[in-house]
């Protein structure tokens, strides 16, 4: 990997970890349940990005399938919680 590309890659990875940690701080503090659901959604999207970064680090294409499965299924939990807060389900 090129040196500039490596610097950009590492910086993006650290920023991603910081995003996950900050979203978790909002999850702990959030006064209402809606804040916690949104924080969970942010952590899910950051987790999908982390999986893609791990796939680049480990040089294995099969890891991208895990990211795809998670991206296809992760919306389900958020929608279920939103429906529960609305009163349905």
């Amino acid at each position: 990997m090129d040196s500039i590309t490596a610097i950009i890659f590492n910086t993006a990875f650290y920023v991603l970890m910081a995003a996950m940690a900050l979203a978790f701080v909002r999850f702990i503090k959030g006064p209402t349940s809606a804040d916690r659901v949104v924080a969970f959604d942010i952590m899910t999207i950051a987790g999908i990005s982390v999986i893609v970064f791990i796939s680049v680090i480990a040089q294995r294409v099969i890891y991208l399938d895990v990211a795809m499965v998670y991206a296809l299924l992760s919306f389900l939990g958020v929608i279920a919680v939103a429906r529960y807060l609305e009163g349905g389900l």
Binding site: F24, S33, R60, Y63, S74
Partner: protein, 85 residues
């Protein structure tokens, strides 16, 4: 190096989410915390190079467990409110 830092961050967040799930008063927050723990466990399975286990954990933990828990919680609350009347 960077995998070690990621593992440490994930472990700390997972532990704090578990403690939060135990200590919280509302059951809905505990269910969301279990979803976070499932997400972090999936990433950790990937870090120890087990993509099939990570895929199963993602499908079961994120898709099925949250919906089933919420369904059960809704039914428990409905039954409790009808018994109170």
């Amino acid at each position: 190096m960077i995998e070690t830092i990621l593992t440490i961050v994930l472990a700390i967040i997972s532990l704090m989410a578990a403690v939060y799930a135990v200590l919280t008063k509302k059951t809905l927050n505990a269910i969301i915390a279990s979803g976070i723990i499932s997400l972090l466990a999936s990433i950790m399975f990937l870090l120890v190079s087990a993509p099939d286990v990570a895929m199963t954990e993602a499908a079961i933990g994120s898709g099925l467990t949250t919906v089933v828990f919420l369904y059960a919680l809704k039914h428990i609350k409905d039954r409790r409110s009808t018994h109170d009347d």
